[in-house]
């Protein structure tokens, strides 16, 4: 008998891709409302049994007013946030060459380790005898950090890079005060190429910021530093490798100039990932440096945090480290949490950066990464990161312009927009066109010392095949830009979940939360 279940399995050419759908969705790209538009205050995705009758002890403070917080059942919640996730680009989606942000692979072993109940389910104020393993983990990570940096001590508690900067500068301020120079040493030297947090941090604790111009080759001139440094100088804040992707080759002379003037050398460790295992900041004259565990040691960026920013300190600054810190005793590890206890052990902590002890969840991940790589693997990772950046540099140098010449860079390569002149295409347009090609754009318009900056950091996580395709893509885009295919850029992105967003409108009349549409408001009244 004839089987009538057969049907065509070769696609027919059909309507164009501009065909509009009934829902507005495009297959996997779904338009997703806000929870406030789909949930209700009567709905919930948890089952909690009400308590037996009891007499409340809330005094006169019981909440009467409604909050207007909608709930969703579990399947609705799952679907809502899965759909949202599909509108995001992550490292796991593709090459993420965001300069100075170090978007390297985030190993899932780290996630698994951070969720061991012995780490994830311990309270910061449990008796110390019940958290010796947690203290051991912090102490082990601290040992790795001081060994890799060649420094004397580390303050673990800062919550992120900028918080680490603040911690480092506070230690410097405390050391200066201890020398009796609090009223005279108030200037912090900051190169023009520095990340914006550097001057912001210095200003926050009432240092005066003095800019250091960057010389022609993109680095800082020690002679300029020597001329600017003096008895009023508290410190220099220097990023090394710097934000132009170059190693500050005169770093030793710069450190000497600042030290000679009586100041301290704060290194911004944002780019430490280029030199782990190759050079130690302690050997270069650094007094304090924060380490972004989320950049160098692979803890996930999580869409903007949480970070973790331990600060390594030289012998001169170590006594001023904030509480808490760990001490080895005969009974085990002791967490020193208050000034009185710290003073007993000869320390002079400048204070406290945060409640409790810092970002334990990030410590576990970072140590898991370090143990996996080992000292040998960390060195290899730095070398691969630098090799990958240079491979991109030579692959694009003939088409795009390098502001400081075609010479070796560190872990990231910086282009400017000189090559786009006369095309009518901006750095931003070029970046948005990369989105259509399936890439996350590079860092744009930073550092500020270069016009229309494009800072590309491939990291060591990219294979050669991946880099080859990336280079070929950027070459194709660059040639298209030069031959006047302007619309491909100025209207981009065309294929992302949304087209270019109106940031002017968002800032002119800020809408920072959902408010019910008018008819619903009236009905509620």
């Amino acid at each position: 008998m004839l089987n009538r279940q057969g049907r065509p399995t070769t696609p027919q050419s059909g309507a164009s891709d501009t065909h509009e759908t009934f829902t507005g969705n495009k297959a996997l790209q779904q338009i997703e409302p806000l929870i406030f538009e789909i949930g209700s205050t009567d709905q919930t995705g948890v089952d909690i049994d009400p308590p037996a009758a009891y007499r409340k002890r809330l005094g006169t403070f019981e909440r009467k007013a409604a909050m207007g917080l909608p709930g969703l059942s579990e399947p609705e919640t799952m679907r809502h946030y899965v759909r949202l996730s599909q509108k995001n680009y992550g490292i796991d989606s593709g090459l993420f060459p965001l300069g100075s942000c170090t978007m390297k692979h985030n190993p899932r072993l780290n996630e698994k380790m951070a969720r061991l109940p012995g780490f994830a389910d311990v309270h910061p104020l449990q008796p110390q005898s019940t958290v010796q393993g947690a203290l051991e983990l912090m102490d082990t990570l601290a040992h790795w950090l001081v060994t890799l940096t060649g420094m004397d001590a580390v303050a673990m508690s800062p919550k992120a890079g900028a918080h680490g900067e603040l911690c480092g500068l506070m230690a410097i301020k405390a050391a200066i005060a201890a020398r009796g120079e609090a009223d005279t040493r108030k200037v912090v030297l900051v190169p023009d190429s520095a990340h914006g947090t550097n001057p912001a941090t210095a200003a926050l604790i009432h240092f005066d910021v003095r800019s250091v111009p960057v010389r022609e080759d993109g680095t800082v001139d020690p002679k300029v530093v020597a001329a600017l440094a003096g008895p009023d100088t508290a410190a220099i804040m220097l990023t090394n490798p710097n934000t132009c992707g170059l190693f500050e080759k005169d770093v030793v002379a710069i450190a000497e100039a600042v030290h000679k003037a009586g100041g301290y050398f704060y290194a911004d460790g944002a780019n430490f990932n280029a030199i782990v295992g190759k050079a130690r900041p302690g050997d270069l004259g650094v007094d304090a440096m924060h380490i972004n565990l989320h950049k160098t040691f692979s803890t996930p960026h999580g869409g903007g945090g949480p970070g973790s920013g331990p600060v390594v300190l030289s012998e001169r600054l170590a006594p001023f480290a904030p509480v808490p810190f760990i001490r080895k005793t005969e009974e085990g590890l002791q967490l020193v949490e208050d000034d009185a206890e710290a003073t007993k052990h000869g320390a002079h902590p400048f204070g406290r950066m945060t409640a409790f002890h810092g970002q334990m969840g990030m410590y576990v991940r970072a140590l898991s990464y370090m143990l996996s790589h080992g000292a040998d693997g960390l060195k290899q990772a730095s070398e691969d990161a630098v090799l990958n950046a240079n491979y991109i540099r030579v692959g694009l140098a003939d088409l795009m312009s390098l502001p400081f010449g075609n010479k070796p860079c560190m872990h990231e390569v910086l282009f400017d927009d000189a090559w786009l002149k006369e095309t009518g295409i901006s750095t931003l347009d070029f970046a948005k066109a990369m989105i259509d090609e399936g890439y996350h754009p590079m860092t744009v318009y930073f550092p500020l010392v270069v016009h229309g900056a494009m800072l590309i950091e491939p990291t060591e996580s990219e294979s050669r095949a991946s880099l080859d395709l990336f280079i070929a893509t950027l070459r194709d885009l660059a040639m298209a830009a030069k031959r006047g295919d302007t619309a491909r850029f100025t209207g981009a992105p065309y294929h992302a979940p949304l087209r270019r967003l109106d940031e002017t409108r968002a800032a002119r009349s800020p809408v920072l939360k959902w408010t019910p549409p008018q008819p619903i408001l009236e009905a509620a009244e």
């Binding site: 318009y445 002017t504 800032a507 002119r508």
Partner: protein, 124 residues
């Protein structure tokens, strides 16, 4: 309408009697991009020439606006707080920031004339 004078930081003044109306120039608004916020000077504030008098922000840039002349602020254009776009649309007209009662008219002499300012712009 009085003659306009200009500063190197791209502020203008228009003097009528002893009151100078100031704002940022058309060139300045073009450099800033779409203005999204303006903090105008407070009426009654006494400003020194070159001191910070106002703040103007676009999406990606913020600039201080310096008092082009010294004096007391007698009026400020608070309409800009609700409609900052006026600074882009009509910087040297409706988009003025404040009016200052001059304390030292000789300060005006050091400012650029319109022709000088145009020449200055061509060097940038």
């Amino acid at each position: 309408m009085g003659a306009m004078k200009f500063t190197k930081d791209h502020e203008y003044v228009r003097v009528e009697g002893d009151v100078a109306t100031f704002g940022i120039t058309d060139y300045a608004q073009g450099q800033l991009g779409d203005v999204v916020f303006v903090e105008v000077p407070k009426v009654g504030a006494s400003l020194k020439q070159g001191a910070e008098a106002a703040v103007v922000e676009s999406v990606k840039a913020a600039s201080e606006v310096y008092a082009p002349v010294s004096g007391e602020v007698v009026e400020s254009n608070s309409a800009l707080e609700a409609s900052p776009a006026t600074v882009n649309e009509d910087p040297e007209g409706q988009g003025w920031f404040g009016k200052i009662r001059l304390t030292n008219t000789s300060e005006l002499d050091a400012l650029m004339s319109e022709a000088d300012y145009k020449a200055y712009l061509s060097t940038l």
